[in-house]
């Protein structure tokens, strides 16, 4: 029997690891820090919610749909906004601002979609407790197991993709050195598109998982985006595994840390939960700016084995 707080913390951390991993993949391939992750995440939740409310069934059956929608949104962003800018070799800040514009457009579409659901189907999508659609396994909500399995499965799939397939190796090569990869005949366009597909899909999937612990609102993604950024920065921004691991660390510390502190100092601590990811981020930036993936773990553990398969370290 897992205490409910721990169960919630696991769900939250798994969702953050999916989201952080998505941000990291997009950033390491295209140098774009994706602000649109907020609204992509919220869209993933709303499409799952609409299907559950209108068609019925368990939320988990619609997770693949969430992933597909996110991948679609990512592809749209890539083709309309990101590709022309990448070709012009604009600065990171300009890339960020362009995704911010995309985020605002998606956000307005979420609001319209909410009104559409309210007016046509008499739903109340502005405030959704998604976990009411959940079922329990051995006294614990199924979201705990499923989110954890999903997060681990996604990381494993990404790992297999990056190390075992030819295209995955090509993607890593492009991350390491885009010019050299182009010389060898790798089409950077395909790599960038793949990163947006995977990153966007993970964003929406993460949103659908995140709604299991948060109240689903149109600003859900915007509220969680600081934690998402903290996860990917803690992960070091240049390794997909780092992003996922960072998500777990941030999620668990934020949830359990605030809970433990509240037991120690008093319940007022709970309202300052959002400060914890910030503190983690500041510590990460000042003491190990290359993130968890940049720490020489193998040296620390006394292993001489050369770490292989990591996303690579780029200066």
């Amino acid at each position: 029997m897992i205490p409910p707080v721990v169960a919630d913390a696991i769900t939250y951390a798994s969702a953050l690891s999916l989201l952080g991993c998505g941000i990291t993949i997009i950033y390491m391939c295209t140098r774009t820090f994706n602000f649109a992750h907020a609204s992509m995440c919220t869209w993933g939740f709303y499409i799952a919610y609409a299907c559950v409310a209108l068609v019925g069934g368990s939320p988990y059956t619609y997770y693949p749909l969430s992933f597909l929608l996110g991948a679609f949104l990512g592809a749209v962003c890539y083709f309309t906004i990101n590709r022309p800018l990448l070709k012009r070799k604009v600065s990171e800040i300009t890339l960020m601002m362009s995704t911010l514009g995309y985020d605002l457009v998606l956000f307005s579409m979420i609001l319209m979609f909410c009104d559409y659901l309210t007016l046509n189907y008499k739903l109340s999508p502005r405030m959704v407790v998604f976990s009411t659609y959940d079922f329990k396994v051995a006294g614990v909500r199924a979201a705990t197991y499923i989110s954890l399995v999903l997060a681990i499965a996604s990381i494993t799939a990404i790992h297999l993709f990056l190390t075992k397939t030819k295209f995955g190796v090509a993607l890593r090569a492009t991350v390491e050195n885009p010019d050299l990869a182009a010389v060898v005949g790798i089409d950077p366009d395909k790599v960038y598109l793949a990163s947006w597909l995977i990153g966007g899909g993970l964003a929406s999937l993460g949103g659908a998982v995140l709604a299991m612990t948060m109240t689903g609102t149109p600003v859900m993604g915007m509220e969680a985006i600081v934690a998402m950024f903290a996860s990917s920065i803690l992960g070091g921004l240049y390794s997909a595994y780092g992003g996922a691991l960072g998500g777990f660390v941030v999620g668990i510390t934020e949830y359990l840390g605030s809970y433990l502190l509240a037991g120690w100092l008093g319940p007022w601590v709970l309202t300052y939960r959002i400060v914890i990811p910030l503190i983690i981020m500041v510590i990460a930036l000042f003491f190990f700016p290359r993130g968890l993936a940049g720490i020489p773990w193998s040296k620390l553990l006394g292993l001489a084995r050369r770490s292989s398969g990591s996303g690579g370290e780029r200066r």
Binding site: Y27, F33, T80, I81, P84, L85, V90, S91, E92, I93, T94, M96, M97, S98, L100, G101, Y102, D103, L104, V105, L106, F107, S108, M109, L111, M112, D115, Y116, T118, L119, N120, M222, V226, F229, A230, I233, L237, W268, T271, Y272, I274, V275, P277, L278, M281, V282, L285, F286, P289
Partner: protein, 413 residues
């Protein structure tokens, strides 16, 4: 596609004919040559909209637009100083705005209460006492213009000081970090400040608004107009300040550092000092903007200082106007403010248009429009309406003379 050929020919012919007649028109009326420029079109749009709104909805709307314009102009100019001139990705503009607003709501209000011998402790901000205390203060201030103005100046000075302090604090990471890392950390700082204000009620009342002793109560019914004029004057002052700064040696150092940090270092500029100074000045100006907003509204609610309104809108204004160009920023803020007001005013007319989908509330179009504008600017007009120009420090004639002298020297060895 051979069947399209005659159509294409017709189209080309039509285009040349239109161009010819346009050329003839321009020859007759020289001023028309300026028309196709984006900045001139934007100015025209501004004038037509202001005249239309003034005629159709009354002068109050125009005054309202001017206040919003002036407030956001102050904040966007400060953003332009940090982003456009210094090259810091300031995604935490809201932090300095909050620094100004909270100091007015939390500290300056208490100082006034202390001065007038009222409750100024922790419970000043409690929602059960605050409105009574502030009401009593306001009744005193109503008849005392000198005291009111003194309090107003104290507000501004305190706001600038607290903005400078927060600017210095944010300059610490700004020295070490670059690009995306820095932008994200600044964004997170701003968010956290808002949550602290929302949760810790002794600061600015938490979820309830804290009222602010009103330094313009003496103006009675004309308060709205007086405060508009004051804010506009301060905005003008800020514009002159930032424009002068960007033409000074300091501003040129900032530009040099933005374009090539190595070159700036080679020429002996202290990067750390210059970056810090720019952040301190910019944050102080933004804090004054935040304080003016709080004074104008009369209350200070933590949750109204979101990053969307106080960071991302100013970014959009600045990018529309032209990053690094102060005149462009003025135009960008004006155009965006007018469009947002237009959407807000005409939302019901839009909503009851025949065929308008009932689930599409026009208020959301604000976000759609702003997002699309950002994307389109980035894609098609990356330098904005009024692109940044190299600043000339000396009068043009003097430079010409110097050039002539140099050329003479070169030609006669």
């Amino acid at each position: 596609m051979s069947f399209l050929k005659p159509v294409k020919e017709k189209w080309a012919e039509l285009k040349t004919r239109v161009a010819e007649s346009w050329g003839r028109l321009v020859e007759r009326y020289r001023i028309l040559a300026y028309l196709p420029r984006a900045d001139v079109l934007a100015c025209l749009f501004v004038f037509i909209c202001l005249a239309w709104l003034g005629a159709a909805k009354g002068a109050v709307i125009v005054v309202n637009i001017l206040v919003t314009f002036a407030l956001f102009l102050i904040i966007t100019l400060s953003l332009n100083l940090e982003v456009g001139l210094t090259g810091i990705p300031q995604f935490g503009r809201v932090l300095a705005v909050i620094a100004g607003a909270f100091i007015v709501g939390g500290l300056a209000g208490r100082l006034v209460a202390l001065m007038l011998g009222m409750e100024a402790g922790l419970y000043y901000a409690h929602h059960m006492y605050n409105y009574r205390i502030v009401d009593a203060i306001n009744r005193i201030l109503e008849h005392n213009v000198a005291l009111s103005m003194g309090i107003f100046i104290m507000y501004l000075v305190l706001a600038a000081l607290s903005g400078a302090v927060f600017g210095w604090l944010t300059s610490r990471p700004a020295i070490r970090l670059r690009e995306a890392y820095l932008g994200i950390s600044l964004l997170a700082f701003g968010d956290v400040m808002m949550w602290i204000g929302n949760n810790w009620w002794p600061l600015v009342g938490g979820t309830n608004a804290v009222h602010i002793p009103d330094p313009f109560r003496w103006a009675g019914d004309y308060r709205f107009y007086v405060i508009t004029v004051v804010i506009l004057a301060i905005a003008l002052g800020v514009f002159v300040l930032v424009e002068r700064l960007s033409r000074s040696p300091f501003g040129r150092t900032l530009r040099m550092m933005r374009d090539c940090e190595l070159a700036a270092q080679v020429y002996g500029r202290d990067i750390v000092r210059v970056r810090t100074l720019s952040l301190v000045v910019g944050s102080a100006v933004a804090a004054i903007g935040g304080a003016l907003y709080a004074i104008y509204v009369g209350t200070c609610t933590a949750m109204s200082y979101t990053r969307l309104t106080w960071t991302f809108w100013p970014w959009a204004y600045m990018m529309l106007g032209g990053i690094g160009s102060n005149v462009g920023v003025v135009l960008g803020v004006l155009v965006f403010t007018i469009i947002r007001t237009l959407i807000f005013i005409y939302r019901f007319e839009l909503k009851y248009l025949p065929g308008w989908p009932p689930w599409l509330d026009p208020v959301y179009l604000e976000y759609t429009f702003c997002g699309l504008a950002l994307i389109l600017i980035v894609l098609f007009r990356p330098y904005g309406l009024v692109p940044e120009k190299p600043v000339s420090t000396l009068p043009h004639e003097q430079i010409e003379e110097m050039l002539k002298k140099v050329k003479e020297k070169a030609s006669s060895p």
